[in-house]
Every structure is written in structure tokens, then in C-alpha cells.
Amino acid sequence: MFKIDPSRLDVVREFKARPFGEHSPELQYVLNYMRSRPVTQFEVLVMTDPGKRWVLAYMPTGGVDVPKMTNQTFDRLEDAEWHVFKLRWKDITGKDLPID
């Protein structure tokens, strides 16, 4: 089974540069792994200003409950994707990304 290689920062840079659209097979594997691993809660975005502002929130896995809101807001969806990617990278590898 595929596992994320924490040394593959090239893949990280690829995602940061282009979170949406065509990805290399390696990056797609990383994203699929992140999105399908078992978690107790997962990230969602709550749109507070249509098409302009989003708040990071968490939903429980396997239940019906309102999202738990955070103080983290975004003006661009790309920024939200990058923020969540970094959170997940650390959660999976145990390491902070050396890329802002």
C-alpha cells in the first residue's frame, strides 16, 4: 500500500503551486491517501461571505452534528487548501512542513 514519503517535498511544492487541476501521479496518491485515511473529524469550509470568505471548521466522522468552527479564515480557496494540506501532512508524518 502507498505511504507518504516525508522527504518528497517536490510533491508538496507541486500542490502549493496548483492545489486544483491536473496533478502528478505521486501528488494524486498523496491527496488520495490524505482524503481516505480514517479520522475522527475532518476539515470543512463554512462560507460566511458568498464567494469571498470561508472559515475552517471540523465535522465529526460518521455522525450528524454541526461543524465546530475555528478562528481560521480564508479569502482564497487555494489558501484554505494549502493550510489544510499542511495540517494533514503533519498529522500523517508527524513533521511540520519546512515550507510556508
Partner: protein
């Protein structure tokens, strides 16, 4: 925190007619309502500035806020009848198929009330069958398994106080270690409450102050699962008599004992439940449980319930079924005679909370105010109503390619799960949701939030407003009811960004229109895909059976592919000889939701037949911009396929390319799964901008992409997609006939 939500009694209203609005307002003493006409979506960057037109009407006012409750959960009910009065001894029995035996106490059938009076059959806390007589309980002690048929029966003799309970698994070809169980006990009789109805799949909680799904009856202890052949006798029967009662035919020799001998295989398309006993204790179901479900005796030899209803005698009840909230009306709006046709809504505002209650104003029946009609996809909107699954799992990201998104109105659905879900969801017991209803608050019909369906169609309305040729709005509900007569006055019919769900009546009407010179602009993707059945009499209720294959949120169980409402075979139109390519030239090929792409013009775009389309459009690349993820081609896309019905003379004038990894071949295109099913590797995945002529001077233009609509408003409609589309509209509205190529 203040909450406001509501719904309308009608989806399509003519000038002079009245639409009633029901609202529930929690946390504010009053709320404000305004009737507005919607002109575009509130879509942010790249889209037109959001605007709505306030309609001058006395309905615009402040109203007292009050909470109106939603009572989810389906059940069956037999109204109180003299035959049910004074029952002390009894036998209750049914075949049952529990789907959540461990969820907690659930009532199977009986005359038991929450006050602790009467008697009934139950699924106890641990999943074992149980009989209750007043406060007395006797359990089989053996938990039942999920999705397995059992005969459950209980008899009670009031004189001796003897109670007996049976729980017997039914042979189903699987291997289980279960054995039949029978247990005994002693109890005192408990008379049911006077006037109490007999209830299936729930117990009587009491009476509500306002209407509920059935009168004012409050029901609790909803059972998840199927019930087949329920019976009631006025005496304690022995096992042999119980077996006789469990047969499909009324047994001889038990006439004095039998009180109710219900046959759920009768009236499957209706809400009626029939008692074959001499007492005729007929009843009805409430909140739309699912019928035409395989029963305890289904052999697998028959797949069509209409051919052998006796094998389809099960009703599947769910604790989250809901059809009509039956709220009381807050206010009404009578559409002024001179009103423009369009997308309308009652905008409800309480403190910081806002909720739109949409409806459509159409022209008076038999008339048209324009040569152009926009057909609002109300069938598809209804099928999608309250789609919750998309933000309940991170796995949504696997096919969306992005983090799931919601807004404050979506969250209402999580705060108030009793408002029910959509046919894109599963019930709480994991079974697929087969009904969509609009007679409840709907969180995804609004001009903001996720840009999908209703919201995306407002891009097309925005463009029609910009072009200024006028337009009428008509709806799927109108089309289903009125057929081709609805379309006949129009030179051009525009279908929306995602007209996915079609009844036979709708499809036949469109086919007739296209064959008689009508012009059709299909402005979307993944249209004309699933077959649906409208309920023949209940408004705003649509059924979909997700049979065989297709891109689907759940799959219908084998043997349950035929609609309950009509007996029609369900599933993809493609599987019924009417693939989308027949009507529009194109059909569903792929979906992806991370990024949208563009079209590249083809050699065919130079054909003189389509010269009108490209006047002022010199670009080779079309739609490499858009509000919907940056391109005109994407989200759900369609392509031509002559084998599925694309006319031989159809011209693909532009074809999309460069779709991302999340775009995968749809299931019905894959017989043998392989490693090259994404758009990066598979050249079959593309959207085809397609044109062809039809008989009697008609023509069809198809975009084959949901995202297309989101490119129209970019740069103030000064772009090649808007220009090309406007060219098509102007030519299509022109009386000059198109000639079929020879």
C-alpha cells in the same frame, strides 16, 4: 441564536394565483418577509454583482415568529375502530426485517402508548423482539440481526395472564447459527387508550397542538426496517394458528379470532394499507415509507413487483422519512396579473438569519409572453433537496478534489435533521433514500452557497436578462403535468445547467417539441440521465430508483428496480433505449469538481451550417475562464456517442481538453475497471459543444458541461462563451427554419 426557515405550498405559480408560505422562526419574536425576483446568483468574484428585485406586495411585512415542528419518521396507522376497543387478550405477529436492531427501543406494531397503556410488539433495547403489555415487558433475549427476516409473534391470554413470545429466523440461503426462540411470562391485561389508533413502526406518544404527518398524532419509537404480513387476533393463538395466519391467504376456521389481516402487497402505489379480514381495518401510511420492497418470501425469480406483488408485501419504514411538514401558513402572495415570469422567492429575514423560499412564476396556462422559455429543472431540484451526504464524510473530497464547503443555511440541516435528507443520501439505517420532497424547508435552493443546480441556473437567467430578448420561466412540474402543450408556444426552450432527472412524460414532451420544429438549447451537463416517477397525486414528491449502474449515491437492492409510484422500471434512461445523446447529441462521460477547463474549436466549427454561431468569435480556445472553477468545461461533462444516439449529422464544434485527475470515466462506461480511467490518461473524457438540426426547421445546441453557465457573466458578458451562446439564441429565436442536411 435565531433560526428561520420555510417552504412554499407550490413550486410553479401563474399570475393571479396564490402561493402560501410556511415559516418557522426560532429565537426572534418577529421576522420580515419580502417577495423578490432573483436575477443572478450571489457568486462572488467574476460574477455579476448580486441583485434581486423587490416585488411591491402586501405580503412584504413583518410577521410574528413562531417555531413550527417537523415530525420525521414514517409509520402506518389504522384509525380507532370499534373492533379494536376493549381488547384484553390478543395475538400480534408479523414478518420483520430490522435494519437497526441495536438503535434502541422501536415499536413494530400495536396499540401501546407512551403513557404505558395498551400492548404491542417491539424491538427491545438490545435488538431482541419484545412484547409489552402496559408496563410489562417480555423479551426473546436473543438480539435479531440486521437485514434478516424473522417471524415475530406474541400471544396473551388475559384470563390466565399467560404471555408467549416467538422469534423465529426465516430461511434465506445464508448460513447463520440462529435458532427459533420462544419465551413465556405472566402479565396483567392493559387496555389500550380509548380512541387510540393501531400503529405500525411506531408507538403513540400523544397529540400535538398542530398538524403532524397524520392528523395531530405524535408518534415515537420509530422502527427502521421492513414489516410484512402483520396480523392481529383477539385471542391468544397457538403456534399452529399463528402459522396459519402468517400465510398469504385468509385462513379458514379462525374467523372469530382474526381482527386484522393486513396485506401490504395491496395498493403498493398508494398510501393505503388494506386489511383482508372481515373487519376491514384499513389504514394508511404516513411520511412516505418505501413500498414495492422485497418481502420475506421473495425468491429472486421475479424482479418486477407489478408481476407478482405477493412477493413485495414489505413496507420499509425509516425514522427519518418525511414528506410534508404540514406547517400552518404564515402568509400568502398572490401573483399580480402583470408579473414577469421568473425565479421568485419569499426572502425571510430574522435578525442575522436569512432563508429563501423559492417558487417560479410562469405564464398563464396556454399562453406565452416570449418566444424563449427557460425550463427550470424543478424535478432535479427536488431530487437534490436537502443533499446532506456531501458534507458528512471526508471521502467526498476523493471525487470533489477539494475541501467540502457549506454555509449557514446548509448547517440548518445538521441542526434540524428532522427536516430529512435527499435522494443523494442514505437513511439512518443505511438504505438509499428513494423520495425527494419540497414540502419542507430545503437548504439548497437559494441564490448563494454552493454553486450548483438552482444557483447555477441563475447564471443563465443573468445572461438572459443581459441579452434582453425576454424569456418565460416554466418548470419540470408543469412539463410533467401538461406535456408538449407547455412547450408549443416557444421557438426556443432552454434547459438548465444540470437537468438530470426526467419523467417519461417530460421526455416525451421534449421529444415531440424537438420533432416539430422546436429549438432546444441544452445549457448544461449530465442531463436527461435518470428516470423518475412523480407521485400521481401528492404534490412535490418524486421517486428515483437507482438501479443497475450509473454514478449514484446508493444502489437499489436487487429486485427493487421498479418504481413504487408508477411500476415503471427505474434507473438510467440510457438503459431504457433513450440515452441523453438521442435528445441532445451528448451524454454523461465524466465528472470532477476541482478545476474546470476550456473547449478548443474543431474543424467542424468552420462548417457553414454553424457560421451563425461564430460570428464575432475568432478565438480557437473557448471558455478558458469562468466563475465555476475557472473554465466553461467541467464539473459534469457530456460527449457525443453515435452508438447511443447522437445524430449522424451532429457537428461537434468545440471539444474540451486538459481535464484533471479527478475526472474519471462514469461507471456505465466501464465494463472492466483499469488504470487509465482518468482524464489525464483517457482521451474519451471531454465535453462536446454540439449542434444538429431537427425536423420541421428545428435545431439543438448542447454545451455538455455544467460549468458552461458560469462563464457567461465573466467580464460583463463580454467573452467568447457569452457571444457564441447569444449568437445561438438569436438564431434559434429567428423564424427562419433550419434545414436538415441531405
Amino acid at each position: 441564536m435565531t433560526r428561520i426557515m420555510g417552504y412554499a405550498d407550490r413550486i410553479s405559480v401563474q399570475p393571479g394565483e396564490t402561493v402560501a408560505v410556511m415559516a418557522s422562526c426560532i429565537g426572534a419574536p418577529r421576522y420580515r418577509a419580502e417577495i423578490v425576483r432573483l436575477l443572478n446568483p450571489n457568486a462572488g468574484m467574476g460574477a455579476s454583482d448580486y441583485k434581486e428585485v423587490r416585488i411591491d406586495t402586501p405580503a412584504n411585512a413583518s410577521y410574528p415568529g413562531r417555531e413550527q415542528k417537523m415530525h420525521a419518521g414514517s409509520f402506518g396507522v389504522v384509525p380507532a375502530k370499534r373492533a379494536l376497543e376493549g381488547l384484553r387478550s390478543f395475538t400480534l405477529q408479523a414478518y420483520v426485517w430490522p435494519t437497526t436492531p441495536k438503535k434502541g427501543q422501536q415499536a413494530l406494531m400495536g396499540l401501546w402508548s407512551e403513557a404505558g397503556t395498551g400492548f404491542g410488539l417491539f424491538v427491545g433495547t438490545g435488538g431482541a423482539a419484545e412484547v409489552r403489555i402496559g408496563g410489562f415487558r417480555l423479551s426473546s433475549g436473543v438480539p435479531m440481526l440486521e437485514r434478516r427476516w424473522y417471524l415475530v409473534a406474541a400471544s396473551f391470554d388475559a384470563e390466565s395472564g399467560r404471555v408467549r413470545l416467538w422469534q423465529e429466523p426465516i430461511y434465506d440461503k445464508t448460513f447463520h447459527a440462529e435458532r427459533p426462540v420462544a419465551v413465556d411470562g405472566k402479565a396483567k391485561a392493559s387496555l389500550p387508550d380509548a380512541g387510540a389508533p393501531l400503529i405500525f413502526a411506531g408507538w403513540r406518544k400523544g397529540e400535538a397542538e398542530a398538524p403532524t404527518a397524520w392528523g395531530r398524532l405524535l408518534v415515537s419509537g420509530h422502527f427502521n426496517g421492513r414489516i410484512d404480513r402483520p396480523r392481529l387476533a383477539r385471542k391468544a393463538l397457538d403456534r399452529a394458528a399463528i402459522q396459519a395466519l402468517a400465510s398469504g391467504r385468509l385462513p379458514s376456521g379462525l374467523e372469530e379470532e382474526i381482527l386484522g389481516f393486513w396485506d401490504f402487497a395491496r395498493g403498493i402505489s398508494s398510501e393505503r394499507i388494506s386489511d383482508l379480514s372481515p373487519n376491514r381495518l384499513d389504514g394508511e401510511v404516513a411520511n412516505m415509507p418505501t413500498r414495492a420492497m422485497t418481502g420475506h418470501n421473495w425468491t429472486g425469480a421475479e424482479m418486477d413487483w407489478t408481476k407478482d406483488p405477493g412477493q413485495y408485501g414489505a413496507i420499509h419504514f425509516h425514522d427519518d422519512d418525511i414528506y410534508d411538514c404540514r406547517w400552518q401558513t404564515d402568509f400568502s402572495f398572490t401573483v399580480p396579473a402583470d408579473s414577469r415570469s421568473g425565479f421568485y422567492a419569499a426572502k425571510l429575514v430574522a435578525d442575522e438569519a436569512t432563508f429563501y423560499v423559492p417558487f417560479f412564476v410562469r405564464p398563464k396556462k396556454g399562453t406565452a409572453r416570449s418566444k424563449i422559455a427557460f425550463l427550470a429543472s424543478t424535478a432535479t431540484y427536488t431530487v437534490y433537496a436537502n443533499n446532506r451526504a456531501r458534507f458528512l464524510s471526508m471521502r467526498t473530497e476523493l471525487y470533489q478534489g477539494r475541501i467540502s464547503m457549506m454555509d449557514a443555511v446548509d448547517i440548518l440541516q445538521l441542526e434540524f435533521p428532522e427536516m430529512g435528507v435527499s435522494t443523494y443520501d442514505r437513511h439512518s439505517d443505511g438504505s438509499g433514500v428513494g423520495f425527494g420532497s419540497r414540502l419542507r424547508p430545503v437548504t439548497n435552493w437559494k441564490p448563494h452557497g454552493r454553486l450548483w443546480n438552482y444557483c447555477c441556473d441563475l447564471f443563465i437567467i443573468d445572461w438572459l436578462e443581459h441579452v434582453g430578448l425576454g424569456y418565460d420561466v416554466i418548470t419540470d412540474d408543469d412539463l410533467h403535468a401538461e406535456g408538449q402543450d407547455l412547450l408549443r408556444p416557444y421557438k426556443v426552450v432552454i434547459t438548465g445547467s444540470h437537468p438530470e432527472y426526467w419523467s417519461l412524460e417530460m421526455l416525451d414532451a421534449l421529444d415531440g417539441y424537438q420533432r416539430q420544429g422546436g429549438r432546444h438549447m441544452y445549457m448544461g451537463g449530465n442531463g436527461f440521465y435518470w428516470r423518475i416517477a412523480y407521485h400521481p397525486s401528492k404534490p412535490g414528491l418524486i421517486e428515483v430508483r437507482r438501479s443497475e449502474d450509473g454514478v449514484r449515491a446508493w444502489d437499489a437492492r436487487v429486485g427493487e428496480y421498479y418504481h413504487q409510484f408508477t411500476g415503471e422500471y427505474g434507473g438510467l434512461w440510457r438503459r431504457q433505449g433513450r440515452a441523453p445523446q438521442v435528445a441532445t447529441g451528448v451524454g454523461f462521460i465524466s465528472q470532477g469538481f476541482d478545476a474546470c477547463s476550456y473547449y478548443r474549436r474543431t474543424e467542424a466549427s468552420l462548417d457553414p451550417r454553424v457560421a451563425f454561431m461564430f460570428e464575432g468569435v475568432a478565438d480557437e480556445i473557448l471558455g478558458n475562464f469562468g466563475v465555476l472553477q475557472g473554465g466553461a468545461a467541467g464539473l459534469e461533462i457530456d460527449c457525443v456517442d453515435p452508438a447511443l444516439g447522437t445524430p449522424p449529422h451532429a457537428l461537434v464544434v468545440a471539444r474540451s481538453e486538459n481535464h484533471s485527475n479527478t475526472y474519471i470515466l462514469v461507471a456505465e462506461e466501464v465494463n472492466v475497471p483499469h488504470g487509465a480511467m482518468d482524464a489525464v490518461q483517457n482521451p474519451a473524457i471531454h465535453a462536446d459543444l454540439t449542434f444538429f438540426e431537427t425536423p420541421n426547421g428545428g435545431a439543438v445546441f448542447s454545451t455538455g458541461s455544467i460549468a458552461y453557465a458560469g462563464s457567461l457573466p465573466v467580464n460583463g458578458f463580454d467573452n467568447n462563451i457569452a457571444r457564441l451562446t447569444t449568437n445561438v439564441l438569436r438564431r434559434f429565436v429567428d423564424e427562419r427554419p433550419f434545414a436538415m442536411p441531405t
